[in-house]
């Protein structure tokens, strides 16, 4: 039946997506050129050449220990992200549907967002010591508000006309939520989730560095102590690569599948 055409459609979209990687590559090349220029202006000690950095990163990966550290940091970031996605979505949706809760949560949110993440790291270190928990709690506190706000926005900006439509055709509250509202909420939620994922990685590394909890943050701290700029830059590149890999493996495919109709809505030539 239409299984073949569905597969073909997905293949076509995958092809378009891969083709669009050229634009990303061009952007990377631009950054590389600027980096190289900086290197030539300030010398090896301040800014290692991009190729040397890549070589250092490759060396770290080959030595074997880097993979372990990357895996540790990624696992911590993902654990924190998963927790904050779950809690943020749950509470955000609940608050979106209940104006009283929303009004109550606004000042709490302002407060949470006002406290710099670094303060949370210090507090978590005191409470939990240099452990996974410190990293997870810091991520949870600093990234949840973004997800929460995204979920609330999704609920309050949804098209209520569609709710009425579904009700007329016999959908109860649960099926109205599942069939009609959830899709609209997800459209607002995904950008927030991507933002939260990025901040989960950044906060994880920062917390590791400050709490001396190992992982990439710990390795960065060591590179700083030895003033090894090449190694520091190599670790940064590896962390960024890990973040991008996770984002494109975990979140983008789901989003692309849910937002197929947006692509249909885009005029020819605007398709990314």
């Amino acid at each position: 039946m239409s299984l073949l055409s569905a597969c073909l459609d997905r293949l076509a979209r995958l092809g378009r997506f891969l083709w669009s990687a050229w634009a990303g590559l061009a952007g990377l090349a631009l950054i590389g050129a600027l980096w190289q220029a900086g290197h030539e202006a300030y010398g090896d000690f301040i800014l290692t050449a991009p190729l040397d950095t890549l070589a250092a990163a490759a060396r770290l990966m080959h030595e074997g220990r880097a993979q372990e550290l990357l895996a540790l940091t990624t696992a911590r970031a993902l654990a924190g992200f998963g927790l904050c996605a779950l809690i943020g979505t749950l509470f955000g949706v609940a608050a979106g549907y209940s104006p009283a809760t929303l009004r109550l949560s606004r000042p709490i949110l302002t407060l949470l967002l006002g406290v710099p993440p670094i303060a949370w790291i210090v507090l978590a270190m005191i409470w939990f010591g240099p452990s996974d928990l410190t990293v997870a709690v810091t991520i949870l506190i600093s990234a949840t508000p973004v997800v929460f706000v995204g979920a609330v926005e999704g609920v309050v900006t949804r098209d209520r006309g569609l709710d009425d439509m579904a009700q007329v055709f016999g959908a109860g509250p649960l099926r109205r939520f599942l069939f009609v509202s959830a899709r609209q909420i997800s459209a607002q939620l995904f950008p927030a989730l991507i933002l939260a994922l990025g901040s989960a990685f950044k906060v994880a590394i920062m917390a590791e560095l400050l709490a001396n909890a190992g992982g990439i943050g710990g390795a960065l701290a060591r590179a700083r102590a030895m003033l090894d700029i090449a190694e520091a830059l190599a670790w940064v590149s590896l962390a960024v690569a890990a973040l991008i890999a996770v984002e494109y493996i975990l979140i983008r495919p789901v989003r692309a599948e849910l937002e197929r109709w947006r692509e249909a809505a885009a005029p020819w030539g605007v398709k990314r």
Binding site: G161, D164, V168, F169, R183, W261, A265
Partner: protein, 249 residues
């Protein structure tokens, strides 16, 4: 026996009375047009009758098996194709998957959509085609009662005519009854068995008129003449166009 009976329905939004003492009935296979100026509470009344809004007072008796509604805007889900939107009520009623496809194609055809339009998303359809999809969605479960809430107001005159013919034909073949809300008198005369006029302030039904003949058999000249007569010589329709909802308290 009436399929729908409203008895002394009243409603208020935030303490402001919108409807008061509305009593009306719609018989089996009867199309009743409800006309009234903009802001007189027609949509609110339809939503109350369909169970979307709980009235503040009055009784509603629904003797039909299944209802559907065509709204002023198409209200299609942008993430679903035309077929997905038309089939939505089937999905809600848990109709088996294998029969859905045929039923959807059939309803789409009756609403004037071609099979090749069914795979398109609403954003790829024209305004008229979106409203056709909304009509197909209302027809797909074979309801015996359909609410129409000014469904063609946004369409141009020629398209409006075609859609009205479509509804007249569908009503004749599928034998549903309908409450057809409009503020276009021509549309009301063309489509209905009976015209009810809502009081400009929502205080009751001001009166009713029975256009001679039945929908689909009246000729254009007679329809125009009747509209002219209503507007110039019939006091019941005196306020149909001149009320601005912002002037209401």
């Amino acid at each position: 026996m009436s399929l729908l009976e409203l008895n002394r329905i009243g409603h208020a939004f935030f303490g402001r009375t919108v409807l008061e003492g509305i009593t009306l009935g719609v018989a089996r296979q009867e199309i009743v047009a409800l006309v009234g100026p903009s802001g007189s509470g027609k949509s609110t009344l339809a939503h109350i009758a369909a169970g979307l809004v709980e009235p503040r007072e009055g009784r509603i008796a629904r003797h039909y098996l299944r209802h559907a509604m065509v709204f002023q805007e198409p209200r299609l889900m942008p993430w679903a194709t035309a077929a997905g939107n038309i089939g939505f009520p089937l999905r809600l009623s848990r109709a088996p998957r294998r029969m859905r496809r045929r039923v959807i194609a059939d309803a789409a055809l009756r609403a004037g959509l071609l099979p090749e339009d069914l795979g398109k998303y609403p954003s790829e359809l024209s305004g008229g085609m979106r409203q056709r999809a909304a009509i197909a969605r209302a027809l797909v479960t074979d309801p015996d009662f359909i609410y129409f809430d000014e469904p063609f107001t946004a369409l141009d005159v020629a398209l409006k005519r075609r859609m009205q013919d479509l509804v007249i034909e569908a009503a004749a073949s599928a034998r549903f009854a309908a409450l057809f809300i409009t503020h276009d008198l021509l549309e009301a005369i063309r489509i209905s068995h009976r015209i009810l006029v809502l009081d400009a302030g929502g205080r009751g039904i001001a009166g009713e008129r029975l256009p001679p003949g039945s929908p689909g058999t009246r000729d254009e000249a007679a329809i125009f003449a009747l509209r002219q007569h209503y507007l110039t010589a019939d006091p019941l329709f005196a306020h149909i166009h001149d009320i601005d909802e912002r002037l209401r308290p």
